[in-house]
Symmetry: C2
Subunit: 398 residues, 2 copies
């Protein structure tokens, strides 16, 4: 499989010894020319040092680099943590003489909370990564591996698209599999493109895409201290800025790719045996649909029912009822994997064995809930709640 | 153990065959004289028929009876369900010629969602219960057993107290162990007293007590369609209405008893090995403290950590951070079972083995989080999240 890598970006991922396992734990991504950069961050009020730093820097007109370490979240680390995050950017800049400034560098961390970064290892790792930077397929994959923690699978997506007669390329990498155990925290996502975007355009499109993708996924609903998503656009595809119509086309691609990456997180959720896709339609507003889909997807009873291959409509309907938005029971209609279970507020007779088999035989369980009030719609993706999740997250770790 | 039963109440609990197990499933409680009655109900918008009926009747000046069935929630049952709930009250009234009116009767149901009540069995059960009504200790315990579903233990509390030179008695029964599997729904609680209260007084005191007790517990946070709590006060202890000061004394007893009953639910939570008591103090307001304690108590990562006897402060602090209220990290202080783990936003060195042993060796885990902003405090009780919970709730049930 060939990945469509944007022009003018180089990548590296190395093992710096931050993770005891020896796996890759420092990733560096550099744009050869200044890039517009946008960021979307965790809504947790307890935030890690790198989040504070990046939040202050984006949107940014002339970003050059993103440096990421895994194995340590640099969260709950006070003034030392803030200094270490800033220092990571300085180290990157120092690898490029006067070509890259610390202020042109974004930084992310993911891993255990409450421990100071081993800065000697981090510095050696960044310098090694800088020396290995490359635009190759392998370098891109190394970079995507360097940000993983408890993830089982690598999470990447790329595409090449024609927009207004121009070819542009977009590439994204992500990580996340839970809030995460042992003490791990974070979902991270970096998207890179050679399309010509201003920082304001990038910020707007990234915020919209985040709202349709990473803001609509959960594993256990525990918002981490480190969640970060950035978009870098260096314009190396050439040509003038996008027209409104071209921007809209680009935004569609961006959103689709973010959804694709986002869905990989609950699919790879700790102990998960199913991806649950909760599609709510007919709500009074999109905000209402979001609350309902999020509440259904967050119910441990819904998540254990899917794990048990149980088409348990009572748990879904009752979860919708406590989402905090007006619900008219007599208008509710529910389908699981296309099988109608509940219509206009009344349970239907259905083939329970067939419905259960359908859950059992598909990795994705599709829950469609129509609430009959308006045009508001939202889709939320989550993992099921399994014995393996509890075992994994209850192992003694401190 | 002798229970202090209020004067003028009679009880019965019988097996009517609604539960396949043959266990008691119809409870009847009658006050010999008209009683002031108050109710507090589920905040779910999908509500069972008996909730709709009772919500319309309370506060009530002249209640005479409470009838409860377990084994069937009479939820999501449409017009037929509403008729059946009303019919249960009519059956009770018919057992007393013109002495008790249907409108003087409250009704509750708990059990499986989406099935019509087997009204022949229900009617026979109510008539049998009416014929067995008794003020004895055994009759009280039978009544408390008749409302249980997946509960392992019976949940009762009674006390006799001197208020302003008068002796009054208060008795409470409750049920609940989860939202609940297989398809079970509901926490129920009935409190009876021979104290002289008006319906308005009863309603006010019950609402306040609910806010400190049953509104602060969770097993998995799935708000059911049937949650109901009622207070009946028949004044049989004699004497005039309470003075303001006596009312306050009574309210303190009521609140303490409600907390005692409420805590029994997560203690008996499905698969639970620990009761987790989350005490938040120093919040800007009580509402903020409530949001923080509820969010920490609802985190699957916090709940699995306690199951694993892991003093995982990172999960607790980060959960506080996404409670949706302003948090100042540098002011956060956290103790688990009295052991300080986190102070003024920084992790402390602590004896991890001793902290883990303390969780392991106590049924209750005490989490104390001080947020350093004001006087707002709230305590929330929940159960830990265990492998047994997931197994229990994922068994195929439809």
């Amino acid at each position: 499989m060939t990945h469509h890598l944007p022009v003018g970006f180089r990548f590296a991922g190395v093992g710096a010894g931050i993770k005891a396992s020896g796996k890759k734990d420092v990733t560096l991504i550099v744009s050869d020319t200044p890039a517009a950069a946008a960021g979307v961050y965790t809504q947790n009020q307890v935030v890690a040092a790198p989040v504070v730093l990046c939040r202050g820097r984006t949107p940014l007109n002339d970003a050059r680099a993103v440096v990421i370490n895994s194995g340590n979240a640099n969260a709950c680390t006070g003034a030392q943590g803030a200094a270490d995050a800033a220092r990571m950017c300085e180290i990157v800049a120092s690898c490029y003489a006067s070509d890259v400034q610390p202020e042109q560098t974004l930084v992310m961390s993911t891993g255990v909370i409450g421990h100071f970064l081993p800065m000697e290892k981090v510095e050696a790792g960044i310098r090694q990564a800088a020396s290995q930077l490359d635009g190759s397929q392998q370098a891109f994959l190394d970079a995507s591996d360097g940000i993983l923690t408890t993830d089982i699978g690598r999470k990447v997506t790329t595409r090449e698209c024609r927009i207004g007669g121009r070819t542009v390329r977009i590439a994204g990498i992500a990580k996340g599999a839970g809030m995460i155990g042992p003490n791990m925290a974070t979902m991270l996502c970096c998207v890179f493109t050679d399309a010509p975007l201003s920082a304001a355009q990038a910020q707007h499109m990234l915020s919209v895409a985040a709202n349709k993708s990473f803001n609509n996924i959960s594993v256990e609903g525990h918002t981490s201290t480190n969640d970060t998503m950035v978009l870098l656009a260096n314009g190396q595809a050439g040509g003038a800025e996008f027209s409104d119509r071209e921007q809209a086309e680009f935004a569609e691609h961006l959103e689709a790719m973010c959804i694709e990456l986002a869905k990989q997180i609950p699919t790879d959720g700790e102990g998960a045996t199913h991806l649950i896709e909760v599609r709510v339609s007919g709500a009074a507003s999109e905000a209402d649909a979001r609350k309902i889909s999020h509440t259904v997807a967050s119910s441990n009873l819904v998540k254990t029912a899917v794990y048990g291959c149980d088409p348990n409509w009572g748990r879904i309907v009752s979860a919708a009822g406590y989402a905090g938005v007006p619900i008219e029971s007599p208008k509710l209609c529910l389908k699981i994997n296309g099988i109608a279970l509940f219509e206009n507020g009344e349970p239907l007779a259905f083939d329970a064995k067939a419905a259960s088999a359908s859950i059992k035989n598909n990795r994705t369980t599709l829950v469609e809930l129509a609430v009959g009030q308006g045009d508001g719609a939202c889709t939320h993706w989550t993992s099921d709640l399994t014995v393996a999740y509890v075992e994994f997250n209850s192992e003694y770790t401190t």
